[in-house]
Amino acid sequence: MTHLTTEQLLELREPGLEPGLDGARAHLATCETCQAELRLIDQRVARLRALATPRPGRDHFLEIRSKYVAERRRKRVRWAGIGSLALAASLALVVLTGDGQAGGRADGRIVGPAYAVASDGDTDLAAIIARSQELEEALRVYDPDSRMIDARTATIAARIEDQLSTVDRQIELFGALDRSVPERQAERLRLWNERVGLLNALMDVHLTKATYAGM
Protein backbone atom coordinates (compact mmCIF):
# COMPACT_ATOMS: atom_id res chain seq x y z
CA MET A 1 0.00 0.00 0.00
CA THR A 2 1.35 3.47 -0.90
CA HIS A 3 0.93 5.89 1.96
CA LEU A 4 0.30 9.60 1.60
CA THR A 5 3.29 11.93 1.32
CA THR A 6 3.91 14.71 3.84
CA GLU A 7 2.84 17.21 1.20
CA GLN A 8 -0.47 15.38 0.66
CA LEU A 9 -1.09 15.18 4.40
CA LEU A 10 -0.42 18.88 4.74
CA GLU A 11 -2.78 19.59 1.83
CA LEU A 12 -5.52 17.74 3.69
CA ARG A 13 -5.16 20.19 6.57
CA GLU A 14 -5.80 23.19 4.31
CA PRO A 15 -9.21 24.79 4.29
CA GLY A 16 -11.07 24.40 0.98
CA LEU A 17 -9.83 21.06 -0.29
CA GLU A 18 -9.01 20.74 -3.96
CA PRO A 19 -10.96 18.11 -5.91
CA GLY A 20 -7.72 16.29 -6.71
CA LEU A 21 -7.42 15.33 -3.06
CA ASP A 22 -10.54 13.17 -2.97
CA GLY A 23 -8.41 10.07 -3.46
CA ALA A 24 -6.07 11.11 -0.63
CA ARG A 25 -9.04 11.69 1.66
CA ALA A 26 -10.46 8.28 0.82
CA HIS A 27 -7.10 6.68 1.60
CA LEU A 28 -6.80 8.54 4.87
CA ALA A 29 -10.21 7.31 5.98
CA THR A 30 -9.01 3.72 5.89
CA CYS A 31 -5.26 3.96 6.61
CA GLU A 32 -4.28 4.04 10.29
CA THR A 33 -0.64 4.79 9.48
CA CYS A 34 -1.54 7.96 7.56
CA GLN A 35 -4.03 8.94 10.25
CA ALA A 36 -1.23 8.64 12.82
CA GLU A 37 1.09 10.72 10.62
CA LEU A 38 -1.55 13.40 10.29
CA ARG A 39 -2.01 13.42 14.07
CA LEU A 40 1.75 13.93 14.42
CA ILE A 41 1.58 16.95 12.13
CA ASP A 42 -1.35 18.36 14.10
CA GLN A 43 0.56 17.88 17.35
CA ARG A 44 3.72 19.44 15.89
CA VAL A 45 1.81 22.51 14.75
CA ALA A 46 0.20 22.78 18.18
CA ARG A 47 3.63 22.61 19.80
CA LEU A 48 4.94 25.30 17.44
CA ARG A 49 2.06 27.58 18.41
CA ALA A 50 2.74 26.93 22.09
CA LEU A 51 6.42 27.85 21.94
CA ALA A 52 7.45 30.52 24.41
CA THR A 53 7.18 34.09 23.12
CA PRO A 54 10.63 35.65 22.86
CA ARG A 55 10.91 39.19 24.22
CA PRO A 56 13.15 42.00 23.00
CA GLY A 57 16.20 42.57 25.18
CA ARG A 58 15.46 46.25 25.69
CA ASP A 59 12.94 48.96 25.00
CA HIS A 60 13.14 50.38 21.49
CA PHE A 61 10.42 53.01 21.53
CA LEU A 62 12.65 56.05 22.04
CA GLU A 63 14.92 55.04 19.18
CA ILE A 64 11.95 54.52 16.88
CA ARG A 65 10.40 57.82 17.94
CA SER A 66 13.70 59.63 17.43
CA LYS A 67 14.06 58.22 13.91
CA TYR A 68 10.44 59.04 13.11
CA VAL A 69 10.76 62.66 14.26
CA ALA A 70 14.10 63.12 12.47
CA GLU A 71 12.62 61.73 9.27
CA ARG A 72 9.57 63.98 9.49
CA ARG A 73 11.72 67.00 10.21
CA ARG A 74 13.99 66.27 7.25
CA LYS A 75 10.96 66.08 4.97
CA ARG A 76 9.66 69.37 6.29
CA VAL A 77 13.05 71.02 5.99
CA ARG A 78 13.37 69.77 2.42
CA TRP A 79 10.15 71.59 1.55
CA ALA A 80 10.89 74.60 3.69
CA GLY A 81 14.42 74.80 2.28
CA ILE A 82 13.32 76.35 -1.00
CA GLY A 83 11.29 78.98 0.82
CA SER A 84 14.13 79.65 3.23
CA LEU A 85 16.60 80.28 0.46
CA ALA A 86 14.20 82.67 -1.23
CA LEU A 87 13.67 84.40 2.09
CA ALA A 88 17.40 84.62 2.68
CA ALA A 89 17.96 86.06 -0.76
CA SER A 90 15.24 88.67 -0.36
CA LEU A 91 16.62 89.65 3.04
CA ALA A 92 20.09 90.05 1.61
CA LEU A 93 18.61 92.40 -0.92
CA VAL A 94 16.94 94.39 1.83
CA VAL A 95 20.24 94.59 3.67
CA LEU A 96 21.99 95.97 0.60
CA THR A 97 19.35 98.49 -0.34
CA GLY A 98 17.84 99.28 3.04
CA ASP A 99 18.62 101.72 5.80
CA GLY A 100 21.88 100.01 6.70
CA GLN A 101 20.74 98.81 10.12
CA ALA A 102 21.26 95.16 9.27
CA GLY A 103 24.65 95.27 7.71
CA GLY A 104 25.98 91.98 9.00
CA ARG A 105 29.60 91.01 9.37
CA ALA A 106 32.12 92.04 6.81
CA ASP A 107 32.77 88.45 5.65
CA GLY A 108 29.12 87.46 6.00
CA ARG A 109 30.00 84.45 8.19
CA ILE A 110 29.23 83.56 11.73
CA VAL A 111 32.13 82.58 13.91
CA GLY A 112 31.98 80.27 16.93
CA PRO A 113 29.08 78.28 18.28
CA ALA A 114 25.95 79.44 16.48
CA TYR A 115 23.79 79.26 19.57
CA ALA A 116 26.07 81.90 21.07
CA VAL A 117 25.14 84.29 18.27
CA ALA A 118 23.05 86.97 19.85
CA SER A 119 20.63 89.17 18.03
CA ASP A 120 22.99 92.07 18.58
CA GLY A 121 21.77 93.97 15.58
CA ASP A 122 24.57 93.14 13.19
CA THR A 123 23.68 89.51 12.62
CA ASP A 124 21.58 89.11 9.55
CA LEU A 125 18.99 86.49 8.86
CA ALA A 126 20.59 85.28 5.65
CA ALA A 127 23.74 84.29 7.53
CA ILE A 128 21.89 82.45 10.26
CA ILE A 129 19.84 80.55 7.69
CA ALA A 130 23.04 79.62 5.90
CA ARG A 131 24.50 78.42 9.19
CA SER A 132 21.36 76.36 9.81
CA GLN A 133 21.74 74.76 6.41
CA GLU A 134 25.41 73.97 7.08
CA LEU A 135 24.50 72.20 10.29
CA GLU A 136 21.64 70.36 8.60
CA GLU A 137 24.08 69.15 5.96
CA ALA A 138 26.63 68.15 8.61
CA LEU A 139 23.93 66.09 10.36
CA ARG A 140 22.93 64.51 7.07
CA VAL A 141 26.54 63.52 6.40
CA TYR A 142 26.98 62.20 9.95
CA ASP A 143 23.75 60.20 9.46
CA PRO A 144 22.86 59.45 13.10
CA ASP A 145 20.10 57.03 12.01
CA SER A 146 22.69 54.59 10.74
CA ARG A 147 24.59 54.56 14.04
CA MET A 148 23.94 52.67 17.24
CA ILE A 149 22.94 54.93 20.09
CA ASP A 150 22.20 54.19 23.72
CA ALA A 151 18.81 54.83 25.32
CA ARG A 152 19.92 58.02 27.08
CA THR A 153 21.30 59.53 23.87
CA ALA A 154 18.11 58.50 22.06
CA THR A 155 15.99 60.18 24.73
CA ILE A 156 17.90 63.45 24.52
CA ALA A 157 18.01 63.38 20.72
CA ALA A 158 14.27 62.70 20.55
CA ARG A 159 13.58 65.64 22.84
CA ILE A 160 15.71 67.97 20.73
CA GLU A 161 14.12 66.66 17.53
CA ASP A 162 10.69 67.40 19.01
CA GLN A 163 11.79 70.93 19.89
CA LEU A 164 13.17 71.37 16.37
CA SER A 165 9.85 70.28 14.91
CA THR A 166 8.08 72.92 16.99
CA VAL A 167 10.51 75.64 15.87
CA ASP A 168 10.20 74.52 12.24
CA ARG A 169 6.41 74.81 12.43
CA GLN A 170 6.75 78.34 13.79
CA ILE A 171 9.23 79.26 11.06
CA GLU A 172 6.82 77.95 8.44
CA LEU A 173 4.03 79.97 10.01
CA PHE A 174 6.07 83.16 10.00
CA GLY A 175 7.16 82.48 6.44
CA ALA A 176 3.55 82.87 5.37
CA LEU A 177 3.11 86.25 7.10
CA ASP A 178 3.91 89.75 5.90
CA ARG A 179 7.69 90.18 6.02
CA SER A 180 7.67 93.97 6.11
CA VAL A 181 6.57 94.12 9.77
CA PRO A 182 9.78 94.66 11.80
CA GLU A 183 8.54 92.71 14.86
CA ARG A 184 7.93 89.66 12.71
CA GLN A 185 11.37 90.01 11.20
CA ALA A 186 12.91 90.04 14.67
CA GLU A 187 10.86 87.00 15.63
CA ARG A 188 12.05 85.18 12.49
CA LEU A 189 15.64 85.92 13.46
CA ARG A 190 15.01 84.63 16.97
CA LEU A 191 13.46 81.43 15.64
CA TRP A 192 16.31 80.77 13.22
CA ASN A 193 18.81 81.41 16.01
CA GLU A 194 16.94 78.94 18.16
CA ARG A 195 16.94 76.44 15.30
CA VAL A 196 20.70 76.75 14.89
CA GLY A 197 21.13 76.32 18.64
CA LEU A 198 19.06 73.15 18.61
CA LEU A 199 20.91 71.75 15.61
CA ASN A 200 24.19 72.41 17.39
CA ALA A 201 22.85 70.68 20.48
CA LEU A 202 21.79 67.73 18.35
CA MET A 203 25.24 67.49 16.83
CA ASP A 204 26.76 67.64 20.32
CA VAL A 205 24.51 64.84 21.53
CA HIS A 206 25.36 62.57 18.63
CA LEU A 207 29.06 63.35 18.71
CA THR A 208 29.56 63.08 22.44
CA LYS A 209 27.05 60.26 22.95
CA ALA A 210 25.06 61.30 25.96
CA THR A 211 27.77 63.26 27.70
CA TYR A 212 25.89 66.38 26.81
CA ALA A 213 25.25 68.32 29.96
CA GLY A 214 22.38 70.53 30.86
CA MET A 215 19.49 68.73 29.13
Partner: protein
Protein backbone atom coordinates in the same frame (compact mmCIF):
# COMPACT_ATOMS: atom_id res chain seq x y z
CA UNK B 1 -5.19 38.78 18.05
CA UNK B 2 -6.08 42.38 18.78
CA UNK B 3 -4.22 44.14 21.58
CA UNK B 4 -6.80 46.92 21.78
CA UNK B 5 -10.56 46.87 22.13
CA UNK B 6 -12.03 48.38 18.96
CA UNK B 7 -13.26 51.51 20.75
CA UNK B 8 -9.81 52.25 22.12
CA UNK B 9 -8.31 51.64 18.70
CA UNK B 10 -10.69 54.19 17.16
CA UNK B 11 -9.64 56.80 19.70
CA UNK B 12 -5.98 56.06 19.39
CA UNK B 13 -5.47 55.81 15.64
CA UNK B 14 -6.30 59.45 14.74
CA UNK B 15 -3.71 60.53 17.31
CA UNK B 16 -1.12 58.13 15.90
CA UNK B 17 -1.84 59.55 12.43
CA UNK B 18 -1.02 63.03 13.77
CA UNK B 19 2.28 61.75 15.16
CA UNK B 20 1.25 62.08 18.81
CA UNK B 21 4.13 60.55 20.85
CA UNK B 22 1.93 59.15 23.63
CA UNK B 23 -0.41 57.48 21.16
CA UNK B 24 2.54 56.05 19.25
CA UNK B 25 3.96 54.70 22.48
CA UNK B 26 0.64 53.05 23.38
CA UNK B 27 0.51 51.39 19.99
CA UNK B 28 4.11 50.25 20.35
CA UNK B 29 3.52 48.83 23.83
CA UNK B 30 0.42 47.00 22.66
CA UNK B 31 2.04 45.19 19.73
CA UNK B 32 5.80 45.12 20.29
CA UNK B 33 5.79 41.63 21.84
CA UNK B 34 3.92 40.08 18.91
CA UNK B 35 6.05 41.88 16.34
CA UNK B 36 9.27 40.87 18.05
CA UNK B 37 8.15 37.25 18.46
CA UNK B 38 7.34 37.02 14.75
CA UNK B 39 10.63 38.68 13.79
CA UNK B 40 12.65 36.52 16.14
CA UNK B 41 11.15 33.32 14.77
CA UNK B 42 11.94 34.30 11.20
CA UNK B 43 15.32 36.03 11.67
CA UNK B 44 18.45 34.16 12.59
CA UNK B 45 19.69 36.50 15.33
CA UNK B 46 18.25 38.59 18.15
CA UNK B 47 19.93 41.70 16.70
CA UNK B 48 18.20 41.21 13.36
CA UNK B 49 14.87 40.71 15.10
CA UNK B 50 15.35 43.94 17.05
CA UNK B 51 16.18 45.79 13.84
CA UNK B 52 13.01 44.37 12.27
CA UNK B 53 11.04 45.51 15.32
CA UNK B 54 12.32 49.07 14.85
CA UNK B 55 11.81 49.07 11.08
CA UNK B 56 8.29 47.72 11.50
CA UNK B 57 7.13 50.39 13.92
CA UNK B 58 8.84 53.16 11.97
CA UNK B 59 6.88 51.98 8.94
CA UNK B 60 3.69 51.69 11.00
CA UNK B 61 4.01 55.28 12.24
CA UNK B 62 4.92 56.48 8.75
CA UNK B 63 2.10 54.66 6.96
CA UNK B 64 -0.68 54.54 9.53
CA UNK B 65 -2.71 56.86 7.28
CA UNK B 66 -2.97 54.00 4.79
CA UNK B 67 -4.66 51.70 7.30
CA UNK B 68 -8.37 52.01 6.58
CA UNK B 69 -9.67 49.49 9.09
CA UNK B 70 -10.64 46.93 6.44
CA UNK B 71 -8.96 44.14 8.41
CA UNK B 72 -7.66 43.93 11.94
CA UNK B 73 -4.95 46.35 13.02
CA UNK B 74 -2.76 43.45 14.11
CA UNK B 75 -3.22 41.85 10.68
CA UNK B 76 -1.97 45.05 9.06
CA UNK B 77 0.99 45.42 11.42
CA UNK B 78 1.80 41.72 11.07
CA UNK B 79 2.00 42.01 7.29
CA UNK B 80 4.49 44.88 7.63
CA UNK B 81 6.52 42.90 10.19
CA UNK B 82 6.55 39.75 8.03
CA UNK B 83 7.61 41.72 5.00
CA UNK B 84 10.43 43.46 6.93
CA UNK B 85 11.62 40.15 8.39
CA UNK B 86 11.68 38.48 4.97
CA UNK B 87 13.51 41.47 3.52
CA UNK B 88 16.08 41.09 6.27
CA UNK B 89 16.50 37.40 5.39
CA UNK B 90 17.02 38.24 1.74
CA UNK B 91 19.50 40.95 2.60
CA UNK B 92 21.57 38.81 4.92
CA UNK B 93 21.69 35.58 2.97
CA UNK B 94 23.02 33.77 5.98
CA UNK B 95 23.52 30.54 4.16
CA UNK B 96 24.60 30.67 0.57
CA UNK B 97 23.01 27.41 -0.41
CA UNK B 98 20.09 27.95 1.95
CA UNK B 99 19.37 24.23 1.70
CA UNK B 100 16.55 24.88 -0.73
CA UNK B 101 17.35 21.90 -2.87
CA UNK B 102 18.30 19.42 -0.18
CA UNK B 103 16.53 16.13 -0.37
CA UNK B 104 14.89 15.58 2.99
CA UNK B 105 14.01 12.01 2.10
CA UNK B 106 17.73 11.25 2.43
CA UNK B 107 18.73 12.22 5.96
CA UNK B 108 22.30 13.28 6.57
CA UNK B 109 24.36 10.83 8.52
CA UNK B 110 24.55 13.06 11.61
CA UNK B 111 20.75 13.21 11.72
CA UNK B 112 20.38 9.52 12.36
CA UNK B 113 19.32 8.84 15.91
CA UNK B 114 19.35 12.56 16.67
CA UNK B 115 16.63 13.93 18.88
CA UNK B 116 16.39 17.61 19.68
CA UNK B 117 13.80 19.92 21.16
CA UNK B 118 11.47 21.89 18.98
CA UNK B 119 13.27 25.22 19.49
CA UNK B 120 16.57 23.72 18.37
CA UNK B 121 14.96 21.90 15.46
CA UNK B 122 13.26 25.09 14.29
CA UNK B 123 16.55 26.97 14.52
CA UNK B 124 18.20 24.30 12.45
CA UNK B 125 15.86 24.67 9.51
CA UNK B 126 17.01 26.82 6.62
CA UNK B 127 15.94 30.46 6.86
CA UNK B 128 13.40 30.04 4.08
CA UNK B 129 11.91 26.83 5.46
CA UNK B 130 11.68 28.26 8.97
CA UNK B 131 9.95 31.38 7.66
CA UNK B 132 7.42 29.32 5.69
CA UNK B 133 6.68 27.06 8.68
CA UNK B 134 6.19 29.99 11.00
CA UNK B 135 4.11 32.10 8.62
CA UNK B 136 1.88 29.17 7.62
CA UNK B 137 1.52 27.06 10.73
CA UNK B 138 1.65 29.72 13.44
CA UNK B 139 0.67 33.03 11.87
CA UNK B 140 -1.94 31.43 9.65
CA UNK B 141 -0.91 32.82 6.27
CA UNK B 142 -2.02 30.85 3.21
CA UNK B 143 0.43 29.52 0.67
CA UNK B 144 -0.83 32.17 -1.77
CA UNK B 145 0.00 34.94 0.69
CA UNK B 146 3.41 33.47 1.55
CA UNK B 147 4.24 33.07 -2.14
CA UNK B 148 3.39 36.74 -2.73
CA UNK B 149 5.45 37.93 0.23
CA UNK B 150 8.44 35.84 -0.82
CA UNK B 151 8.06 36.53 -4.55
CA UNK B 152 7.90 32.79 -5.15
CA UNK B 153 5.29 30.34 -6.42
CA UNK B 154 2.59 28.64 -4.38
CA UNK B 155 4.15 25.24 -5.08
CA UNK B 156 7.46 26.55 -3.73
CA UNK B 157 5.76 27.47 -0.47
CA UNK B 158 4.00 24.09 -0.27
CA UNK B 159 7.13 22.07 -0.94
CA UNK B 160 9.13 24.14 1.58
CA UNK B 161 6.51 23.41 4.22
CA UNK B 162 6.45 19.69 3.44
CA UNK B 163 10.24 19.42 3.50
CA UNK B 164 10.42 21.35 6.73
CA UNK B 165 7.85 19.06 8.39
CA UNK B 166 9.68 15.99 7.21
CA UNK B 167 12.87 17.34 8.73
CA UNK B 168 11.26 18.36 11.98
CA UNK B 169 9.72 14.91 12.31
CA UNK B 170 13.13 13.34 11.85
CA UNK B 171 14.99 15.68 14.15
CA UNK B 172 12.36 15.49 16.87
CA UNK B 173 12.48 11.70 16.73
CA UNK B 174 8.71 11.50 16.54
CA UNK B 175 7.09 8.12 16.15
CA UNK B 176 3.61 7.71 14.79
CA UNK B 177 1.29 5.54 16.85
CA UNK B 178 -1.27 3.88 14.62
Amino acid sequence: MNAFPLAQEETLLPLVRRGDPKAQESLYRAYQAQVYALARRICRTREDAEDVLQETFLEVFRSIGQYRGDGSLWGWIRTIASSKALMRLRRNKYRDADELHDDVAMPRREDTGLRMDLEAALERLSDTARAVVWLHDVEGYTHDEIATMMSKTVSFSKSQLARAHARLRLWLGEEAVA
